[in-house]
């Protein structure tokens, strides 16, 4: 029996002490984004239509004894959408001031959560009072109503120009929705940061609309 010559350099050998396991932890703080709960990691909230093929539900509004809504499930807002760019949230006053811009339109931001516990806001477009109702918008509003107290998923029917929905056989009681403790206003705050809110005429979005690009 001969030992390899390399053993000359090996002894004495220094190895880790298993009882000091805590000191050997590899820093994985960069992975925390994957391990946090949905609520913790959702510092940014998606503001888009619930993904296809995913069941979601909308919370029921809570009202006080006088019938006044104390916990709304949606908010009426004005959005400025530039195709190919980001969407901005406008204050009613500034939206009113620029009402001639057709890229500004009212929308209902509806709170929802998917069966996979992903919480978001669905911007349901509202039709201007002086225009014929758009069938996509009408069907979307109907699905919002159907999603209160039930799990539904959206199916786009391009041929009919509207959405239809499918209701899950799993009830809300069987599969409880995992809404976070945040209010709808907290979610809107998370979805539109300061740079995506337009309070006055000094915002760069007006320059883009006037000149084609920001300075």
């Amino acid at each position: 029996m001969t030992k390899p010559a390399s053993s000359e350099k090996v002894i004495p050998i220094t190895v880790g002490k298993p009882s000091s396991i805590a000191s050997f932890i590899i820093d994985q703080s960069h992975m925390e984004e994957f391990t946090k709960t949905e609520e913790e990691k959702s510092s940014a909230v998606k503001c888009e239509r619930p993904p296809k093929g995913t069941f979601f539900t909308v919370p029921k509004e809570e009202k006080d004894e006088e019938g006044k809504v104390i916990t709304p499930n949606s908010r009426l807002v004005f959005l400025l959408e530039l195709p190919g760019r980001e969407t901005y949230l406008l204050t009613p006053a500034i939206a009113n001031k620029h009402s001639d811009e057709d890229v500004i339109r009212p929308a209902l931001l509806v709170r929802y959560v998917s069966m996979l516990a992903e919480e978001g806001l669905w911007p349901v477009k509202l039709d201007p009072a002086d225009q014929k109702p758009n069938s996509w918008n009408v069907s979307a509003r109907n699905i919002v109503k159907a999603a209160i107290g039930a799990w539904v998923r959206i199916i786009s029917k391009q041929k009919n120009g509207q959405y239809r929905h499918s209701v899950s056989p799993k009830s809300i009681e069987q599969e409880k929705p995992k809404f976070s403790n945040r209010s709808i206003d907290d979610l809107i705050d998370a979805a539109y940061d300061e740079n995506h809110r337009v309070h006055d005429d000094n915002h760069e979005v007006w320059t883009i609309l006037a000149e084609g690009k920001a300075k």
Binding site: K3, I13, G16, S20, F55
Partner: protein, 357 residues
Amino acid sequence: MSSDREIVCSRIVFPDSEFDAKKGRGEIPGFPICNCAIEIDENNQIIKHRLRAPYPQRPPWDRGTQYLTVGFALGAEAGSFMHAFPNWLFPIPAIDLYAEYLVIHNSEMVKAAGGGSKQPGPSLIQACRRYGVPTLDPDYKEAMRELAFSKTDHTPEEITKLEDYCLDDDCASTLRLFFKMLPYLDLLRAPIRGAFMMEIERIRWRGKPIDTVLYQETKQYTPLILPKMREDLNRKLGAEVYFAGVFERRMMLRLMRQHNIPIPIDPKTGNESCATKLIKSMIETYPLLKDFYEDKRMIDAIKNLKLEIGSDGRNRCWLNPFGTKTGRNNPSTNRELLGLPHTMRSFMKPGPGMAIA
């Protein structure tokens, strides 16, 4: 000098033992016929240790100065230590080259298995070949294993033969493999894995108490239960995914299409598949798949029920440490109780006065 987090070892010991593993029988492994070790001492000299029953209180290499234990699948040695030196604590620090191999070659083993799972761990011969380490003739190895397993009343000559084999084959191969793998070892963390490999054997020895009456009844009535479970699943899905007792994969795929459920592609074959392991991540989105997943797993589990239960009514099975691509235990899904669907855990029944196991 050793620090708070490091230990300096002046010797290295490569132990190995010969015993009947009683594989697949749910029994505690047999008493070691011999416990041997090759030691590289402080002076870089080789010492060969040969031990046979009656064993001393502690092995002769444990003589005060700090040493490093190195083995291949140290769980087996941990079992022999528990038999031969019942009052002796497991050696610390210890490095298990089997565990280190699984860690070092994780990506390669996952890729070879198709990406979804991980290849089984290597034997000592396979690991040696991977690192270009010469090993003894496999036929000779098999003959020696046969000698160890086939009887309990070995003659002194036979024990000497087994000691020679133990030292010159397994201990020597492990020593050579260690020096080949050394540049790739994370020496700070390897002893944590080594300690785990030995402690997990203690857990396996303990086993889990099984309600053997219920288990035998289940086995007995399986031919009656299975058709009912299949019919039940057909009813839930509204389609005959089981026809004449045979699972109709095409019918299930058609059902998924009808419900606009995306069909996963098996990474191994490139074909559409409704295998439970592939649809697992989809069951919370599609309630129909959840029903299918739960019932199909249950039907398959009952059909292939093979719990390894020892004569003392306890389930003991190879826990396959570091067996998944994420480094978790990966025991058999039909031989190990905790590998079965959750609903079948009621086969575990604590004895009188015991809370669980």
